[in-house]
């Protein structure tokens, strides 16, 4: 069975849930081989990769790969594609993931599909992808017709399924060109941890918009009662009320959680582009004409400053 390369997304060895999702998808297409760049494999990552079905792990330890952004990772993957002739390469659809995929596609003259929400084995071999486009108004099925299918997959596109495998690791000696070492990170200021789930991976997202008037406390408290991530509309971000990294919408994060709660958000097309594929949508808004109500499964026309605290108490009471 052909290998399927999965680029592992991790922080110092702690493997993100998205990688477990990719390994789960990879098993539909062939035998998953994880590609692990950086440190923390033995101590942390190996167990997770084995649990979700990585038969093999290619480890790349060269520090220059992690110091220079995406270009070296694309070179690593191009060399692995040549070595293994995989059935596909799967990468998480983050901004860095898409850039690595982009460069890999040009290097290997292979077709690229970004932001897939589903990936299946194609009828005539190959890989069939599903994307959600034009602000979630269309679903598109596509096939890669040339080279090795390179697919970036959105978080929450599969439920991680355990399937114990060996995770037999080998060190892969990649050659990194000087040209790949031209853009470098000179300073990195870590963001303060919120203790909340990552926005694109969360099962529940509670977002606030213009209607908060800048006071996100009721939104955050409701989110915390549900164990949810907190998002914000562009209006709230542009007003400086919430960080840009929390923006949900066309120019922010595209989320697809089980439950999305929009609080004080009118629901412009740019916002819809970031949340329209959520499974269940709930809104709280004072304006009963707000377009967000066209999307909802449940809506409350009311003031979020009274509705959310009451809901928060009810959720806490129900959870005991």
């Amino acid at each position: 069975m052909a290998e399927v390369l999965v680029l592992v997304d991790h922080a110092n060895g702690t493997v993100r849930k998205t990688t477990a999702e990719l390994l789960t998808i990879a098993r539909r297409l062939g035998e998953p081989s994880a590609v692990f760049v950086g440190e923390g494999f033995e101590t942390v990552a190996k167990e997770t990769l084995a649990k979700y079905g990585a038969a093999k792990v290619y480890r790349v330890e060269a520090p220059e790969v992690t110091d220079y952004l995406v270009a070296p990772q694309a070179e690593v993957l191009a060399q692995l594609v040549e070595k293994t002739s995989p059935a596909a390469v799967l990468i998480v659809s983050s901004s860095a993931g898409k850039e690595i995929a982009a460069r890999l596609a040009v290097k290997t003259e292979s077709g690229l599909v970004t932001d897939a929400v589903d990936v299946q084995a194609g009828e005539a071999g190959g890989v069939s992808t599903t994307q959600s486009v034009f602000a979630g108004s269309y679903s598109v099925k596509a096939t890669v017709t040339r080279g090795t299918p390179i697919v970036t997959v959105k978080p929450n596109s599969a439920t991680p399924e355990e399937s114990p495998a060996a995770a037999a690791d080998e060190v892969f000696e990649a050659t990194i060109s000087e040209a790949a070492k031209t853009a470098r990170v000179t300073e990195s200021k870590p963001k303060a941890a919120t203790g909340r789930p990552e926005l694109t991976e969360a099962a529940i997202v509670v977002s606030g918009g213009r209607g908060t008037g800048g006071d996100f406390a009721p939104v955050e408290e409701f989110a915390d009662s549900l164990g949810a991530a907190v998002g914000a509309s562009r209006a709230a971000v542009d007003a400086g009320w919430y960080p840009h990294t929390s923006q949900v919408g066309q120019t922010g994060k595209q989320v697809s959680p089980q439950l999305y709660v929009a609080c004080g958000i009118s629901g412009a097309i740019q916002h819809r582009a970031g949340m329209q594929t959520s499974k269940t949508i709930v809104a709280v808004n004072k304006d009963e004409e707000a377009p967000i109500f066209e999307l909802v499964d449940f809506g409350v026309v009311g003031d979020l400053f009274t509705v959310l605290p009451q809901a928060t108490e009810a959720v806490k009471a129900a959870k005991g």
Binding site: L112, D115, S188, L226, A273, E288, V296, V315
Partner: protein
């Protein structure tokens, strides 16, 4: 400092965007189009850089006749000249082919100090062309800048990542993409609109770039759209007016849906 800004003509996101029934490509004819909103930030940033020093901003687009509208808007904002690569054979090109045409056009303009792009187009939203351009041109790639400065042969950007705020440095020439956080794009002034009418717009075909029709277009695409389906409109759910118990009802709904 000479800068090339790559721009795209896209269907208006406010209109009913759709696909062509005959070949599954994005419908760019039956739907009103415009300069991709996110490219305005790239044009603005380029203008700010040359205004603070010297040099010229050249806007480049690849697209059908109507794509001239996107160039016109950029010229009205203040770009100095424009290049429109159009050729019937380009129709249906995927991102790798588009980046190939753009890369050759940039070389023909004369590799500039900076190539600036938006963070994504508002139609395809792949965000991959800047990285592909860097790969094809062999230039450093510095993407998703929310602040940018150019000094002493180097470009420095700040990028707001999920885990950290990063400072990234690369030597010029480089490919840079900018986010919608970087600036506030100007509106064309009356003077700008009048001046734009006299600015040069070059029209190049594939042959002018040394490219062959077999390298681009739908038949040369490395991916194929097999089908497109309009997502059924979401069924209108239950909407209640808060009469003092809106929060309780919301919690009851979440409980019934097993979210609690």
């Amino acid at each position: 400092m000479n800068i090339v800004v790559c721009v795209k003509y896209v269907p208006d996101a406010q209109s009913d965007r759709t696909f062509s029934d005959t070949d599954n490509t994005t419908d760019r004819v039956g739907v009103d189009g415009l300069l991709s909103e996110l490219d305005e930030y790239a044009v603005e940033e380029a203008l700010k850089i040359v205004e603070a020093s010297e040099g010229e901003v050249t806007v480049v687009t690849v697209g059908p006749d109507q794509a001239a509208d996107a160039l016109k808007k950029a010229l009205q904002m203040g770009a100095h000249k424009a290049v429109h690569v159009k050729d019937d054979a380009i129709h249906g090109s995927d991102a790798p082919a588009t980046s190939l045409v753009l890369a050759e056009a940039i070389k023909k303009v004369g590799t500039p100090d900076l190539v600036v792009t938006g963070m994504a187009s508002t139609d395809g939203t792949m965000s991959v062309v800047p990285a592909m351009l860097a790969e094809r041109l062999g230039l450093p790639q510095v993407t998703l800048a929310s602040e940018l400065s150019v000094d002493g042969g180097q470009v420095t950007i700040r990028r707001d990542g999920d885990a950290a705020s990063e400072t990234i440095v690369a030597s010029l020439p480089a490919v840079v993409s900018v986010t919608d956080q970087i600036n506030e794009p100007r509106y064309p002034s009356f003077k700008g609109i009048m001046a734009a009418k006299k600015k040069p717009v070059e029209q190049w075909a594939l042959a002018d770039l040394g490219l062959d029709a077999s390298q681009v277009g739908l038949d040369a695409a490395w991916t194929r759209v097999d089908s497109f389906t309009k997502r059924p409109p979401r069924e209108q759910g239950q909407i209640v007016k808060d009469e003092g118990d809106g929060g309780t009802k919301l919690a009851q709904f979440l409980s019934a849906q097993k979210f609690i």
